[in-house]
């Protein structure tokens, strides 16, 4: 048998390198586009094996280091001889194309050569901690080509970008390829792209848009400017998508936004005939939506817009208030109050209108909700013709809820209005004042059977409860319940009368028992009732004591109603009057003529009340009594006579008593409650904190009370001083601005 030993012949360095050169030359020819067949597998193997052998030979023929160096030199040589000259002779776009080609070639060269020299990658580089072949190759290009040209390239790219901005067509794919070089040359880091290209591109873009903005802001209206801005931003985003690196997007957008929208924000928004204010005035919903979209992305960009919105709404609101105020001063009292009701309607409409803006144009953004709220808080707390907004709102509710009220609307419309009214209440700082007025008017509706619809009455109380808490509506709810119980009670009373015929007063009597705490306080006079009525009172008292022995009844005659049969000469007429009026009229059953003083003495009323009563019976529409002298007002020297000649086409007439102005009393009651509330709040806070500084105490007090009213700082100070005098608090000895709780 033949033993065949393959003896490897030692390859000399020069010899080996010469062989490699053939391969390298072939590769170069291929890259240059010269006619050259591709490498076949045998050629590849040979080149690879040559390297392998030269690296695995025994020293001194182990040529790894030399080969590693020659590998790099191969690139350097090629770059210096061919690549750089080719690039240097071209400019602008041509240069860019050449660069892309050369880069592409280089990558191919690196790929092939590193395959040939692969064995170095396996052991040598790791042993010596050297950069791998791939990296060596790329580094050559970077150090020799990129470093020389990147600035020129950057200028050429930016010039093309600006050309495109001006509307010309450019080769986007080319730019993408060029910029990919910046990214790839960073070898995993974005530094080269960012420092050698992006930073300059951003500066250029900023300067480009700065120029554009400065001329557009002069020439264009606000809507047009915004359209252009929106378009620019869209185009820049497209630019990124097409050829810039994605990481440039936020930076580029920020620059464009800054130049177009931030720098000129004030001028843009405040443009006299087309700025934000004008757009609001002219209801330009689309333009305002655009404004929102543009400024939404900018830090604190929406604040000036929200501010203008707030000012606009405030101005509109103030105008409505002023209108109502002017009408009130120029017209008679009754048209004035109609105008005040119209005001509430208009305020509701204003709220609806601008809420739509907040939700739709301004995408429900909290800043705009806040602006709307603050605007309404400003004008909703103004007084109109002496009436506070709290009172106006309560009167408005009363008009909706009472029978024959000015509102002849469907159930749904009423519900909707009540819902909106309760929302408006949120803007009114004197909520407690509203509650008191509302309560007073509710009482009148309930007691004089003037409520149009029970369901609506309950519905608004539910809404008020939801918005303001249970404490707000507890008394009112009590009042409504009282009325329900009163009806049941009346049935029992009638049953009682049925069972005790002797107790029957001979007059149809209906009594409503009210729980004191729920109802507004009423003055009760010790009027001398006619005998018939005295009996009624006694009978009911008797009945009531059978039901409960522990309650005290206080009669409020000022709220009573009486039906009298007036036996006039022509025909009898039923008179529906108040109990007081009835008491006056019944005096004339026994005497024909009475002087003012007579009546005063007999009834035991105050002058103010008596004048009012007599006026309603002798100087108003229905003259049941004749007054001597027949002047238009009642004086203390007058005398009165039953007017038997009185007649009317109706069989039953109602003789109203003009209601006493409750405003003064309501305000007094509320002021008194506030003093207690402030006291309670101060004590509560100090009890828990023990020691507190003045300013903090005041601000916590204001916060605690804000749900019901806005306390006057002076009032708080006054209450604090009172509490000091009453030894609840003391000033700290060292620091007179601190207070201590005294247990």
């Amino acid at each position: 048998s033949l033993s065949f030993k393959m003896e490897r012949k030692t390859i000399d360095l020069d010899q080996g390198w010469d062989y490699m050169q053939t391969g390298i030359t072939k590769l170069k020819r291929i890259l240059e586009g010269l006619p050259e067949p591709q490498f076949d597998s045998e050629q590849y193997m040979m080149l690879y094996t040559t390297i392998y052998n030269m690296c695995t030979q025994k020293p001194p023929h182990d040529y790894s280091q030399q080969l590693y160096d020659k590998y790099r030199e191969a690139f350097e040589e090629y770059i210096h001889s061919t690549v750089l000259p080719a690039l240097r002779e071209k400019h602008d776009e041509y240069m860019l194309r050449e660069l892309v080609k050369r880069w592409s070639n280089h990558k191919v060269m690196v790929r092939w050569l590193s395959r040939f020299f692969y064995y170095l990658d396996r052991y040598f580089i790791a042993r010596r901690s050297l950069p791998p072949l791939n990296e060596v190759g790329l580094t050559c290009f970077r150090d020799l080509v990129y470093n020389e040209l990147h600035s020129k390239v950057k200028d050429a790219v930016i010039a093309l970008v600006d050309k495109e901005r001006e509307g010309e067509q450019i080769d986007r794919a080319l730019l993408k390829n060029v910029l990919d070089i910046y990214v790839e040359i960073g070898m995993g880091q974005m530094e080269r792209y960012e420092e050698d290209f992006e930073s300059f591109m951003l500066l250029d873009s900023a300067s480009y848009y700065s120029r554009k903005a400065s001329s557009w802001i002069q020439e264009d209206s606000c809507p047009d400017y915004m359209l252009k801005s929106e378009e620019c931003l869209k185009k820049e985003r497209e630019r990124v998508a097409h050829y810039l690196h994605s990481s440039s997007e936020p930076k580029l957008v920020e620059k464009v936004q800054h130049e177009l929208l931030v720098v000129y924000a004030n001028q843009l928004l405040e443009k006299e005939h087309s700025g934000c204010r004008a757009l609001l005035r002219d209801d330009k919903v689309d333009d305002l939506s655009r404004m929102y979209r543009l400024y939404h992305k900018i830090v604190k960009g929406l604040e000036p817009v929200a501010n203008i919105f707030k000012q606009h709404v405030t101005a509109e609101g103030n105008a409505l208030v002023q209108q109502a105020e002017d009408t009130a001063t120029n017209h008679a009292a009754n048209t004035a109050s109609v105008q005040e009701q119209v005001l509430i309607r208009k305020v509701i409409e204003l709220h609806d209108k601008y809420m739509v803006y907040v939700v739709e144009c301004f995408q429900n953004h909290t800043l705009f909700h806040k602006a709307l709220k603050e605007a309404f808080e400003i004008f909703c707390n103004k007084t109109v013709a002496g009436s506070s907004s709290a009172e106006l709102l309560a009167t408005f509710c009363d008009n909706i809820l009472k029978k024959g009220g000015s509102e002849k609307l469907s159930d749904e419309a009423i519900e909707d209005t009540l819902e909106k009214v309760v929302k408006l209440l949120a803007y009114i700082s004197d909520k407690d004042l509203f509650a008191e007025f509302y309560r007073k008017k509710l009482a009148r509706r309930l007691l004089f059977d003037r409520s149009a619809n029970d369901d609506h009455e309950r519905s608004i109380l539910t809404k008020l409860k939801q918005q303001c808490g249970g404490q707000f509506t507890s008394k009112m709810e009590g009042m409504v319940t009282d009325l329900t119980l009163a009806r049941e009670n009346q049935n029992s009373f009638e049953e009682y009368l049925g069972n005790n015929p002797a107790a029957n007063p001979g007059i149809d009597l209906t009594v409503t028992v009210l729980t004191t705490g729920f109802w507004p306080s009423y003055k009760s006079f010790d009027i001398n009732l006619p005998a018939e009525m005295v009996k009624c009172v006694e009978v009911f008292k008797g009945f009531y004591e059978t039901k409960t022995k522990h309650r005290k009844l206080t009669w409020i005659y000022s709220l009573g109603t009486c039906h009298l049969n007036g036996k006039f000469d022509t025909k009898p007429i039923e008179l529906v009057v108040s109990t007081y009026q009835a008491a006056v009229l019944l005096l004339f059953n026994t005497t024909d003529k009475l002087s003012y003083t007579d009546i005063l003495t007999q009834l035991n009323l105050s002058h103010e009340d008596l004048v009012r009563l007599l006026h309603s019976l002798s100087c108003a529409r229905y003259k049941i009594l004749l007054k001597e002298p027949s002047t238009k007002t009642v004086s203390q020297s007058d005398s009165f006579e039953f007017n038997s000649k009185f007649t009317d086409r109706m069989r039953r007439i109602k003789i109203p008593l003009p209601p006493v102005d409750e405003r003064k009393k309501v305000v007094e009651d509320v002021d008194k409650d506030r003093r207690y509330a402030i006291d309670a709040a101060i004590v509560r806070i100090m009890k828990s904190r023990k020691v507190l500084g003045h300013q903090q105490l005041v601000s916590e007090c204001v916060e605690q009370l804000s749900r019901m009213f806005k306390p006057d700082i002076k009032a708080i100070k006054k209450r604090m001083e009172d509490l000091i005098t009453r030894d609840y608090l003391e000033r700290d000895k060292e620091n007179p601005n601190m207070f201590r709780y005294l247990a």
């Binding site: 100070k717 001083e721 000091i724």
Partner: protein, 233 residues
């Protein structure tokens, strides 16, 4: 109130006769204890000179007499300072104990010596630490009722003039003017009284540039401040 008699000497039973000028009682030779007892004796003698014999205290009439002897007006601050020194509890009346306390502290036992001691007393009271205490005392002293804790405007005006008139003339004049025309308060509390003292000490006047409505100054001073500003405008 009867005092316990000293062991060594007897109290003189004869009433002390009033003469047009004071004379020093003849000092008698005595031991130390004798001397202190004697000193007490002298103070009581002096007390009796002014006291109302039936009530056993110096009453307003007696005080007026004392004032004329001291050659000060009974509205002079020095009398109030004397009252403070003796911790007198009731305006217009000095008890024996109170009298003794003051004279002992001042180290005097005759009217003449007392008169000489007054300027020194004033100096002592005017020291800042003492004056704050004195100022508060002045208010309490004017309260006529145990349950009362405030003083009417008119009295306050007089009191302010007396107590602060010499040191804070400008502030007192303006504030008194204000008190007379305002309607918010009919009486002044201790807190308001002390607040004014703090105001005089801390706030530059009449510019009041360092005053702030945001701080815890009594409301009456806030109102005074606003009134002054309106006048200055």
């Amino acid at each position: 109130m009867p005092r316990t008699a000293s062991k060594t000497t007897k109290k003189r039973s004869k009433p002390y006769t009033v003469t047009s000028s004071d004379t020093d009682p003849v000092p008698s030779a005595s031991s130390k204890t004798k001397k202190s007892a004697k000193e007490n004796d002298e103070k009581y003698k002096l007390f009796n000179k002014y006291a109302n014999t039936s009530s056993g205290v110096i009453d307003p009439e007696g005080i007026e007499k004392l004032c004329s002897k001291l050659k000060v007006s009974h509205t002079d601050i020095k009398i109030l300072m004397l009252a403070w020194k003796m911790k007198s509890e009731r305006q217009g009346y000095f008890t024996k104990a109170e009298w003794r306390r003051a004279l002992k502290a001042l180290k005097v036992d005759t009217t003449k010596k007392l008169k000489k001691a007054l300027p020194e007393l004033e100096k002592e009271v005017r020291k800042p630490l003492n004056f704050a205490d004195f100022y508060a005392y002045a208010f309490r002293y004017c309260l006529t009722d145990e349950r009362q804790n405030c003083i009417d405007i008119e009295t306050i005006c007089q009191l302010l003039d007396m107590v602060l008139g010499s040191t804070f003339r400008d502030q007192v004049d303006h504030f008194v003017d204000y008190l007379k025309i305002q309607n918010d308060y009919k009486v002044i509390t201790m807190d308001q009284w002390m607040g004014f003292y703090r105001f005089c000490n801390e706030i530059s006047f009449p510019d009041m540039t360092n005053y702030s409505l945001e701080l815890a100054w009594p409301l009456i001073l806030d109102n005074f401040f606003e009134w002054m500003r309106e006048k200055q405008a």
